[in-house]
Symmetry: C2
Subunit: 288 residues, 2 copies
């Protein structure tokens, strides 16, 4: 078996379209008619992307919200979603959660497919959106001299996950993440680079740095966190908060609440510096 | 656990968009910019939609071709596909087959997602297309007095499946089905209703009949088959041949090779008549 990252490289290699360079970590961007279409597809599996025994309504919410978050990072307005649904435990609860999240975001279910299969439940969602600003922002435009910004605190999903596992409390942050669509649309005309933080700030920031060909210098103390101070380092490596990370020219103020967490530097030896040094250890949730 | 068809009904009920009436059996149609977008998503699972042990290159081919066949039935020109890939056996063979089928149809891989998970491998594919004719044809426009037509023979995939299982021969018909894109584009401006035959002629014809509010009268002997005569009835109930089934006004000649297999009648007590009587038994491959 080849590794997941090797597979992704193989798939990228056969992708005729430049959009597919982004396979597995970003949206596809397609000129169509007089508009620009933004498309993303994510798959989730029981035991990996959600807890076995978790409320299927929350799984439906997260499946939709995490894909809409990808659209948010492109400044896109959602047009609809298609669902690939493997029959599982409490399908009626899944449908109830799906209805809630689609109502919440006013996004239609356009179609999809349902299948019966054995084994861990696997779900897929395709989300389509319309670009509200062109050129569509990407991870790749950060410039030395820009500021590095984050829309809100990290770590709430981590605390929510722990509470859910321990049965000690209830937190919407992990179960019902929010896709920052309005913020993404406000940011799209101003940012030089943008992405959503789904796999951990340090990991996603290093991806943005590589895509932009820069070094990002993050000041740890400047990063807003939702956890006690002694868990700051963990919060910077945990995903699932779906905040937007972006770079702005030095003289540009963000159009939505956001914290400046660092600076964009010329490309150095490391893509990422945390308080001046390359962070050690696992930066976030790695695929494969 | 609710049944698959009950789930589909639940999902349809929450679908805000009329396109999602077609959930699980048809494409979504979305006006976008100055164009019309056609979108379909199909999921396939090991042991259900493909044989465990089957060449992954063939699985990749069928996954793509079956989705492109859905686009063909809308007269759409493919724009690209997104892949949801669960790591499985021989991933490199899958990628090789994916490259072959995308090259064959000149369709780009736009993006997607790869995941690791246990259990039967589940694959998803989203295909996007541009409508070449508007209004986009559907299953729902057949009129009493129309002729009922089929683009080519049925049963080749059945024979191929049997040969593959028995190890007695090799047939491309089951392993590498063809999506009739050129035929679909030629037919779109002329047909009153059209669909691809993926689940069996009798089953799919009964769906077209219901969608159109008509009765379809098929003459068994007029249906082209690729099997010996004594297997005609089976061939009419086997899927995977991906021929196009369509209705044409009586005075219209088909623009591509096709056989007239019956007539469109006013809606009677049965959606489908085979040689004058409602066919008994399983009409094809039923979901759920």
């Amino acid at each position: 078996m080849i590794t997941e990252s090797a597979l992704i490289q193989s798939l990228r290699a056969i992708a005729a379209h430049p959009a597919a360079r982004n396979l597995d970590d970003d949206c596809a961007v397609l000129e169509f008619g007089a508009e620009t279409l933004i498309i993303t597809h994510d798959a989730m599996a029981a035991g990996i992307h959600f807890l076995p025994g978790q409320d299927p309504a929350d799984i439906a919410w997260k499946l939709v919200a995490s894909n809409l978050s990808d659209l948010a990072a492109k400044g896109a307005e959602p047009l609809g979603v298609l669902l690939g649904y493997q029959l599982g435990g409490d399908d009626a609860r899944f449908v109830a959660g799906l209805r809630e999240v689609l109502d919440h975001y006013q996004v239609p279910l356009l179609g999809g497919d349902t299948i019966g299969a054995t084994g861990a439940q696997v779900l897929g969602l395709t989300a389509l959106g319309r670009a509200t600003h062109r050129p569509v922002p990407s991870r790749g435009g950060g410039q030395a001299g820009d500021g590095l910004w984050l829309t809100g605190p990290l770590g709430a999903a981590m605390l929510g996950f722990e509470a859910l596992q321990a049965g000690t409390g209830d937190s919407l942050a992990y179960r019902r993440p929010q896709a920052l669509l309005a913020q993404g649309q406000a940011l799209a005309p101003l940012v030089t680079a943008i992405m959503d933080v789904s796999d951990g700030l340090l990991l996603d920031a290093s991806r943005l740095a590589r895509a932009s060909g820069v070094t990002l210098a993050i000041t740890s103390a400047a990063v807003p966190i939702a956890t006690p101070e002694d868990r700051r380092d963990e919060a910077l490596r945990w995903g699932d908060d779906y905040q937007l990370l972006f770079t702005l020219p030095a003289d540009t103020a963000p159009p939505c609440p956001a914290q400046r967490i660092g600076d964009v530097l010329e490309q150095g030896g490391e893509p990422l510096l945390l308080d001046g040094v390359a962070p050690l250890g696992k930066l976030g949730y790695e695929h494969g």
